[in-house]
Structure formats: structure tokens, C-alpha cells
């Protein structure tokens, strides 16, 4: 996607061959350099509670991290595999509702008495808990469902799309339609989903004797830990050969088929992995806000995720994550400072980024880094006698 400046140089002036020593050692430097920002970032977010003790700030940061995970999930399918999923909210929403159902069942006796039926079901004249709500009494089941359900739905949709060789803008349209349909179903099935209100008044999640109060450091660690885990997992996935095949497919060619790679199953894999990640993001989001609502599956939120990923850099999981955190943070502080005009300011910032930084902030950092290392390499090459020998 991005072409390093030194590649252009090499092409324009092909005569001086790089010195052998550099050809051998450079790759190791680059691969360590690729992992380093991820390690630094994960270390940084995990260290936050040692400096911040204000519960409201911790809660806010935990929310940003959940949204960062959603943006990373989008970058995985869009940036690495060329699948622009405008319906990222489907996975996000399913994850959120799966967790909300569990947390609702934990509270309901408080709100509705001994029947143990969630309040909105009582208002909708249900007299017993629907069968598909039953297993959500188990926290483990809810956790599993929040990841697997979005992944399964995505795999199914992906199977139909990618078998039929649908690509590009048509994928965007289909996923957007999927989002609208899912949203409508959740709004419509009021007796089972709480309709427009969603599922509110949730309990705190509890696992292994730890209670995750959304304003506590424990919850922050859950959020940051999940983000760190999935960033690393995504990083490993993109470095694997499967990730390489997906990057080959991203170029828009079916050439991989003639090397024996079943293109559709690779796309399905990436699409459902991304959906599973957004499921986790949605789950955390429902926990931090203490409700789940159909707006999680609304078009505005899913399109916002696209903007976060574009601002941060869709070609980088970390870039998209940072993009989401920055945009949401800016949004928060701008809306406090400029009550009426903050959306204008934010919009102008988006336009500037998209026009001047097509690869987002990550692209900017990458280019600066490449320029810097190119300069360092140039200096070292001037000093190394072997390099001089190679330059006829």
C-alpha cells in the first residue's frame, strides 16, 4: 500500500546495489520495528491506572479503548483484506446484546420481583423467559456468544458474498443493508430485545470472584487487556502466511486461485475474525455504558468507525485504534469547549486528514520513520567500506 521512499530512490537509480551486510541485517530491524509500537502501546494503556485514579476518567478511557478495538477490527478486514465492512455494527451490536442479556438476567429479580423476568418482558406481557434467553444465565456462555455469534453471522454472510465473488463497493452496500436489517429486527422484536430502549439497568459483570464495576481499575484492565490481546492476535494473524495471502487478494486479483488458495474461505476467515473482534468491543461497550441499545447497530456508529480507521490509518491495526481513541477524545473535549460548533471543527479535521494523509496518521508516522531510517542508513553506508566497494 505505502511505498517507502527509498524504494523510489532505488528504482530511479538502480546501479548502486545495497551492501550485502545491510541486506542481511535490515529485515530483522524492520520486523522488530513493526512489533515495537504495539508493545509500547499495550504497555502504555495497561499502565494508565497507576497514574489515573479518577473513576470517571478511567471509565471514559475504558470506553475509548472498547471503541479502539472496534476500529482495529474494521482495519483488519478493510485495511488488510480490502473488505470494506460498513456493517461493523452488526458484530458490535450482537456482542453488546449478548453481554447485556446476561447482565440483565443478573439484575432482574431486583427490578421485577421473584419471577426473574426482565422488566421490558413484563411490560410486553411475556410470562416466561424465552428459550434463547435461558443459556445467558451463564456468564461464560455470554462471553462465548459475544465472540462466536458475530463471527458465525459474518461467516454465513461472507460465505454467500465471497463464493459469488462479490467484491469492492458491493460488499460495502451488502454489509450496510445487513446492518439496517439487523437494527430493524432488534427494534421490532420489542418483547425479546427491549425495542428502541434496548436493554437497560444492567448489573456488573462478575467472573472468578472479581466484580467489574465499570468505574473501577479492574474493569479498565479488562478493557485494556482485551484490546492488547486482540491487537497482538491481529498482528500475528497479519504476519502469518494466511495474512500474506489476504494481502495478495486485497490487490483485487484472483491470481491466488491459480496457486491453489481458496479465495472465498480466506475472505470468510478475515471477515469473521473481524466480526468476532467487534463482538468483544461491543461487549465491553455494553459493560462500560451499562446498557445495550439498537443505536449500537445504527448506521451513524458504523460509519464513525470507518472514519476513525481512516483517520488513524486503516492499513495498521494500531493506527486505527489510536484513530478511534483520538477522535473520540477530541470529540469529548471539543464538545465541552465549543458547545455548538464542535462538529464543524471535527468535520474539518477529517477532511484535512483524508486529503493530506491518505494512509492516516499511521501512514504519516511510517513515512517519517522510513525517512529517518533511510537517512541513518545513508550515513552508515557512507561509513561502511564494504558499501563503497559495492558502489561501482
Amino acid at each position: 500500500m505505502t511505498s517507502l521512499p527509498d524504494r523510489h530512490d532505488r528504482r530511479a537509480e538502480p546501479v548502486p546495489r545495497p551492501a550485502i551486510a545491510w541486506r542481511v541485517s535490515m529485515p530483522r530491524i524492520t520486523s522488530a520495528a513493526q512489533f515495537l509500537p504495539y508493545i509500547l502501546f499495550c504497555g502504555a494503556i495497561l499502565a494508565v491506572p497507576s497514574f489515573v485514579s479518577d473513576p470517571f476518567l478511567l471509565n471514559k478511557f475504558a470506553r475509548y479503548l472498547a471503541l479502539g478495538l472496534a476500529a482495529a477490527a474494521l482495519a483488519l478486514s478493510w485495511g488488510y483484506c480490502g473488505i470494506l465492512n460498513l456493517g461493523q455494527g452488526v458484530g458490535f451490536g450482537l456482542g453488546a446484546y449478548a453481554m447485556a442479556m446476561h447482565l440483565k438476567l443478573k439484575t432482574s429479580p431486583v427490578h421485577t420481583g421473584s419471577a426473574g423476568l426482565p422488566d421490558f418482558m413484563v411490560w410486553n406481557n411475556l410470562d416466561h423467559l424465552p428459550w434463547f434467553w435461558q443459556p445467558f444465565h451463564s456468564g461464560l456462555f455470554a462471553l462465548a456468544a459475544a465472540v462466536l455469534l458475530p463471527a458465525l453471522v459474518a461467516a454465513l454472510l461472507g460465505w454467500f458474498m465471497f463464493r459469488a465473488r462479490i467484491a469492492g463497493v458491493y460488499v460495502a452496500i451488502i454489509t450496510l443493508a445487513m446492518l439496517a436489517v439487523t437494527n430493524l429486527v432488534f427494534v421490532d422484536q420489542q418483547a425479546y430485545t427491549g425495542g428502541l430502549n434496548g436493554i437497560t439497568d444492567l448489573a456488573w459483570f462478575e467472573m472468578g470472584g472479581v466484580e467489574f464495576d465499570p468505574y473501577s481499575p479492574a474493569f479498565y484492565y479488562l478493557s485494556a487487556g482485551s484490546l492488547a490481546f486482540f491487537l497482538m492476535l491481529g498482528m500475528v494473524f497479519t504476519r502469518s502466511k494466511a495474512g500474506l495471502v489476504l494481502r495478495a487478494i486485497r490487490g483485487g486479483t484472483d491470481r491466488v486461485l491459480f496457486f491453489g488458495y481458496d479465495m472465498a474461505s480466506y475472505q470468510c476467515l478475515a471477515f469473521s475474525l473481524s466480526a468476532g473482534m467487534s463482538g468483544v468491543a461491543g461487549m465491553l461497550y455494553a459493560m462500560v455504558l451499562e446498557f445495550a441499545s439498537p443505536t449500537f447497530m445504527g448506521v451513524p456508529l458504523s460509519l464513525s468507525m470507518v472514519i476513525w480507521a481512516a483517520v488513524g490509518g486503516r492499513g495498521s491495526l494500531l493506527g486505527a485504534t489510536v484513530g478511534a481513541i483520538l477522535v473520540n477524545g477530541t470529540q469529548g473535549s471539543l464538545s465541552e469547549a465549543f458547545l455548538n460548533s464542535w462538529q464543524l471543527i471535527l468535520g474539518a479535521l477529517f477532511i484535512l486528514v483524508v486529503v493530506f494523509l491518505p494512509n492516516g496518521l499511521a501512514g504519516l508516522v511510517h513515512n517519517l520513520g522510513a525517512r529517518l531510517s533511510g537517512r541513518l542508513r545513508g550515513m552508515a553506508a557512507d561509513r561502511a567500506p564494504s558499501a563503497l566497494l559495492n558502489r561501482r
Binding site: M1, S3, R7, R10, R11, R17, R23, P27, R28, S31, F237, R239, S240, K241, A242, L244, V245, R247, A248, R250, G251, T253, D254, R255, V256, L257, F258, F259, G260, Y261, D262, M263, S265, Y266, L269
Partner: protein
């Protein structure tokens, strides 16, 4: 039974029969050249064998197995490799990465998920890049290669893929005389170990490498045999070499 058999193969594009009842059988280890004028159905035949185009009639048997309905990737797993007329490589990837994709003995997702390509090329890849002369450019993005180099990269990818049956569509297009010579040397090495079907216009190259030539005309087999027999066949002269009606058309 021959290694590859095409039986009454037929495909029509909007009523135009690009391949029209083609029968062809190729033995294991053979190097077969396909000749024919533009539109004779040479590239379409290769497309039909590798699965890019679905036939509207007839059968394709590979090693006795009917592969007519198999999708491209499955045919590739059964040993069909293809070089395209317009060199077709992954432009966004480096040469190293292109060759890693070509190394596809285990192409299933659950296998590739557990593989982490090492920066050091495998002995086979190292050997192949040496042959095609790309060993100094392993980290160059394929988009930055010249046309000739892209041809070499695709040939290298096929060598790495190591398919039993290799379909080559105009491998020497855009190559210098020296490069064509090098290509023919590579083909001589592949002969016997691989079965090759080559579509080529460069008659010098064809003379150098081909044992048996099949001449296609309007989607059918017009003539088949060694080069001298083909050159002296009056039907071929009329249809392709242009001493008859076709040159006046």
C-alpha cells in the same frame, strides 16, 4: 490414457464458439506448443484447462480424473499451474512475498494460519531467483519491476509452485533475444519432469523447444505433429502461414 485429455471441449461467448469441439491428448512429461492465428482459441483453451473459463460442452480429464466441474483452486491443487499472457503477479507485494505465495503446497487456511514466512528464502526459492536473476531485488515491490522482470517473476513463481502441468501463455512476450534463449533453456530443464503446454508466437522459440505442435484454427484442431510436418502441411499453410485465402481476407 494420456495425462491430460480434452474431449469435445466447447465454449461459446454470446454465440461465438471460441473453442469448438476440441480434442487433445497430452502425455506426461510432454512439451506441447499450441499455434494458431489470433482468435484461434489458444488462450481460451488454457483458460478452460485451468478453470478460469467454464466450458459449455465436453470434458477435461487430468490423470484420468474428470476436472471439468472443479473450481480453479482445486485444479491448481491437483497440479495445474498457469502463466498468464499479461504477466500476472501481486503488485503490492515484494518479490519475496510473491514467491512465498507461489510456494503453495499447503494452501488451506488452517495450514497457512500456522505458517510464519521467514525472511530467509527457502533453498528452492533461492535457487529459482538465481535462475531468473532476481536475487538482488527480493525486497522490491513487484509494481516497480519492468515488463521483462515481471515476466521473469511470474516464471519464477511457477517454478516455485512446481506444478505437474504448467500452462504458459506467451512466456517470451516482451523479452530480448538473450532472455528468450534463457527461457528456452529453462524449458529444456522442465521437460520430462513437468508436462508443459505453451502458447507462443515466436517461431524461433517454438522450433527450439517443441516436440509436438498442435495448430488450432477457429476453435478446432487443424493439424498436429512435429515442426517439419506442420510447416509442410498445406492446411496449416492455408489457415495460418497465409498462402491461401486467409491472408486476402
Amino acid at each position: 490414457m494420456a495425462y491430460l485429455e480434452l474431449q469435445g471441449l466447447e465454449v461459446s461467448f454470446d454465440g461465438f464458439k471460441a473453442v469448438n469441439g476440441l480434442d487433445l491428448s497430452i502425455e506426461r512429461g510432454e512439451l506441447r506448443c499450441l499455434l494458431g492465428a489470433n482468435g484461434a482459441g489458444k488462450s481460451t483453451t488454457l483458460d478452460l484447462i485451468c478453470g478460469r473459463t467454464q466450458p459449455t460442452g465436453g470434458r477435461i480429464l487430468l490423470d484420468g480424473r474428470d476436472i471439468t466441474q472443479d473450481p480453479e483452486y482445486r485444479r491448481s491443487r491437483l497440479g495445474v499451474g498457469r502463466k498468464f499472457q499479461v504477466p500476472s503477479v501481486f503488485k503490492e507485494l515484494s518479490i519475496r512475498e510473491n514467491l512465498e505465495i507461489a510456494r503453495s503446497r499447503h494452501p488451506e487456511p488452517w495450514r497457512t494460519l500456522c505458517v510464519f514466512p521467514s525472511r530467509r528464502p527457502s533453498p528452492r526459492v533461492a535457487e529459482v531467483v538465481e535462475i531468473v536473476g532476481l536475487e538482488d531485488a527480493l525486497d522490491t515491490q513487484a509494481a516497480h519491476l519492468s515488463h521483462g522482470q515481471t515476466q521473469w517473476l511470474e516464471i519464477a513463481m511457477l517454478l516455485v509452485q512446481d506444478s505437474a502441468l504448467i500452462l504458459m501463455d506467451e512466456p517470451t512476450a516482451g523479452m530480448t533475444v538473450q532472455e528468450t534463449g534463457k527461457t528456452s533453456a529453462i524449458f529444456q530443464r522442465l521437460r520430462g519432469r513437468h508436462t508443459l503446454i505453451v502458447v507462443e508466437h515466436d517461431m524461433g522459440f517454438v522450433r527450439e523447444v517443441a516436440e509436438t505442435i498442435t495448430v488450432l484454427h477457429q476453435g478446432r484442431r487443424l493439424s498436429e505433429g512435429p515442426i517439419q510436418a506442420i510447416e509442410n502441411d498445406p492446411k496449416v499453410r492455408e489457415a495460418y502461414l497465409g498462402s491461401g485465402g486467409i491472408s486476402h481476407a
